[in-house]
């Protein structure tokens, strides 16, 4: 009985929906979506970040990059790739950690056994932390 009632109500809602779609001109809701969740840090990745994303988050935390270079702001390089890259939605709260100097990230990336592009990692973390 509950099932039949639910399906009937859904069918009615479907009819109302189709009628509304016919009578009103659809407007883009993209801006609303992005605005609604910006406060929660839920923002899109850029297409170029998406393209390289599997590599960007490939860190296995071996620590070799720390030997080649120091810190980005207060953050040890291996932590940047293994820890900060996990928390996109809340990086804004940790923005103060990545303020400051960047070491020689090219040398650090060259030391990485799994090819994590550390310069790009630093850029994406800083972009998302800045909001």
């Amino acid at each position: 009985m509950a099932r039949a009632d639910s399906l009937a109500k859904l069918a009615f809602a479907y009819g109302v929906h189709l009628t509304r779609r016919r009578l009103t001109r659809p407007r883009s809701q993209l801006a609303t979506l992005l605005e609604t969740y910006a406060h929660d840090g839920i923002r899109p990745l850029l297409p170029e970040e998406r393209g390289r994303h599997a590599q960007l988050i490939g860190c296995i935390n071996c620590g070799l990059c720390a030997l080649a270079a120091g810190r980005v702001g207060k953050v040890r390089l291996p932590d940047l790739a293994s820890s900060y890259m996990r928390l996109y939605a809340r990086l804004g709260e940790a923005a103060s950690d990545v303020d400051g100097d960047s070491p020689d990230l090219e040398a650090a990336a060259a030391a990485c056994p799994v090819g994590v592009p550390l310069g790009e990692v630093a850029a994406i973390v800083r972009r998302l932390a800045a909001g």
Binding site: A2, L10, P44, R50, I60, R86, A94, D97
Partner: protein, 535 residues
């Protein structure tokens, strides 16, 4: 055997329902004993999709279930603010999907009526180009998409917060304690016999025994001579140690089921399967077929999914109520509170079925039955009373970090686990030295977990504070963590080594089904770091 302890109520099962009942009854002023054979939330609860969701799929079956589920989700979101976060789904609609975009949007429009109950926003509809702007990793073949909001939760901390609050209100709660039999007096169940973590046998007398053992419910009922039929269903998830996307994504499987890639705080869960399970509940394996089934579905909407390195799998068994002749996926997640007085087992109550999102309501209704049996009149207060760590607002993470000499990120993660009690955890002992850098976890927090949070193994620490949950899968932290916990629990050097070995072996079982090329690179590193632990 020592003299039996006496309680008003003994609860068997320390998943979220059992812990919720223990909290509810303790807050109503009853004396409670809660027993869990493994660790808090280690069974079905911890192996769920980690979501407090309203259940839009129930709209097809029973709108009242959706209403109750969203309403209770709203309560949980209010009382456990530190443990929850918004999860925003993109539901891409593909050519030949079982639901076209108008049907999908209709469902979301109906669901929007319930969303305010759980403080969630209404859906949006996106064109294909807009969906690709929001998530460039989606397939360009999509027709369009709708979005839907749910809440993510750390179920392990949710269970433990309930346990903590129950203890604070007088309950006794023992993990690693297995119930081996019930104490009977004629037609009445008057207590339980259990084996503690030290192997010693004990008895506890109780006016009411509550069976909240999840999929183990039939086993415990059998001890009382009562039959409870479940239709246990196995579900697996693939775990990625990062957010693959800031948005969660749904996909349709080859057999038309809805699958989810859920972006949690610092990791992604991809799941789940739903298959009748007939095996040993204490040994549930993940099969490579199941992994492929999930990846196949997501490859269709998110083509680069196989480029990502999973770090492990999880598997659990749902305690679904029995129903003959239905596909697993069509089974309801409804629950039932059973008073076994009519089965010749007075004083014995079972709670069976249900789901994480409705745990508080299930606990309330079970507690109501228990109170009626005891003639105890006290109202339920769990819908509004905050869980530990939620009594006040948290301070800014950067400020907490500065005060204790740790990064803002480490402070923020600490706050997600302990809420406004985070400062007290750091004050409790020693330094802010990092033990697990991926998560990150300080030495002080780990020591606190061993001292105050019933952590007895490294796997307990994984559940309580996320030890070794990150991309390195413990390569950098397991031995050091064994040192910190061992020093709190006075383990010998060989006990510390054995604890680390046991953890590594257990973790391997969950990791083996998903090791790919880069997974093996990490595995080699871990094997070296573990210095023989994994052999």
């Amino acid at each position: 055997m020592s003299a039996p302890s006496a309680h008003d109520v003994c609860i068997v099962g320390g998943g979220v329902t059992g812990a919720g009942i223990a909290r509810d009854l303790s807050l109503r002023g009853l004396s409670v004993l809660l027993l869990e054979k493994g660790d808090w939330g280690a069974g079905t609860t911890g192996n769920s999709s980690w979501m407090i969701h309203g259940g839009p799929r129930y709209l097809e079956f029973d709108w009242n279930t959706t209403r109750l589920s969203t309403q209770d989700a709203g309560y949980i979101v209010s009382i456990a603010r530190n443990l929850v976060y918004r999860v925003v789904f993109i539901i891409p609609v593909m050519p030949h999907d079982k639901n076209n975009i108008e049907r999908m949007e209709t469902a979301m429009e109906v669901y929007d009526r319930f969303q305010p109950l759980k403080k969630a926003h209404p859906h949006t509809r996106l064109t294909a180009a807009e969906a690709l702007q929001v998530e460039p990793g989606l397939t360009p073949d999509l027709i369009g998409a709708v979005t839907m909001e749910e809440w993510g939760v750390d179920p392990y901390r949710l269970v433990f917060a309930n346990v903590q609050d129950a203890i604070a209100h007088g309950a006794r709660a023992l993990n690693h304690t297995r119930v081996v039999g019930l104490v009977r007096d004629g037609g009445k169940v008057i207590g339980v016999r259990y084996r503690g973590s030290d192997g010693a046998m004990s008895e506890a007398l109780a006016k009411v025994v509550v069976n909240a053992a999840g999929p183990w419910v039939p086993e415990i009922s059998h001890m009382a001579g009562a039959d409870v039929h479940l239709r246990p269903a196995k579900g697996i998830h693939i775990v990625y140690p990062h957010r693959i996307s800031n948005f969660s994504i749904s996909a349709e499987s080859i057999d038309g089921r809805d699958l989810l890639m859920v972006s949690h705080a610092g990791f992604t869960l991809l799941g789940t399967t739903d298959d009748d399970f007939y095996g040993d509940l204490d040994s549930v394996d993940v099969l490579e077929d199941e992994v492929d089934y999930l990846l196949q579905a997501f490859e269709r909407v998110f083509p680069s999914i196989r480029a990502y390195r999973p770090v492990r799998t999880t598997t659990g068994v749902r305690p679904t109520l029995f129903k003959w002749r239905r596909y697993e996926d069509e089974l309801s997640r409804r629950y039932e509170v059973i008073d076994h007085a009519t089965d010749g087992a007075e004083g014995f109550v079972t709670i069976a079925g249900g789901k994480l999102s409705m745990y508080r309501l299930m606990a309330e209704q079970t507690s109501d039955v228990v109170c009626r049996k005891l003639g105890h009149q006290a109202p339920c207060v769990t819908a509004t009373r905050p869980l530990p760590g939620n009594e006040s607002d948290v301070e800014p993470a950067a400020e907490l970090g500065r005060r204790f000499g740790i990064t803002a990120l480490a402070a923020m993660k600490l706050q997600t686990r302990h809420g406004s009690n985070a400062g007290a955890v750091l004050k409790d002992s020693r330094s802010g030295r990092m033990i697990c850098r991926c998560e990150p976890i300080t030495e002080a927090e780990l020591a606190h977990a061993a001292r105050h949070e019933q952590v007895r193994t490294l796997a307990d620490a994984f559940r309580r504070v996320g030890l070794a949950a990150g991309p390195c899968a413990g390569a950098a932290c397991v031995l050091r963590a064994a040192g910190v916990i061992g020093s709190e629990l006075e383990w010998s050097a060989s006990q510390r080594f054995e604890a680390a070995r046991e953890f590594v072996r257990g973790a391997w079982l969950g990791r083996a089904p998903v090791l790919g090329h880069s997974g093996w690179a990490q595995e080699e590193l871990a094997a070296g770091s573990f210095r023989g632990l994994s052999s």
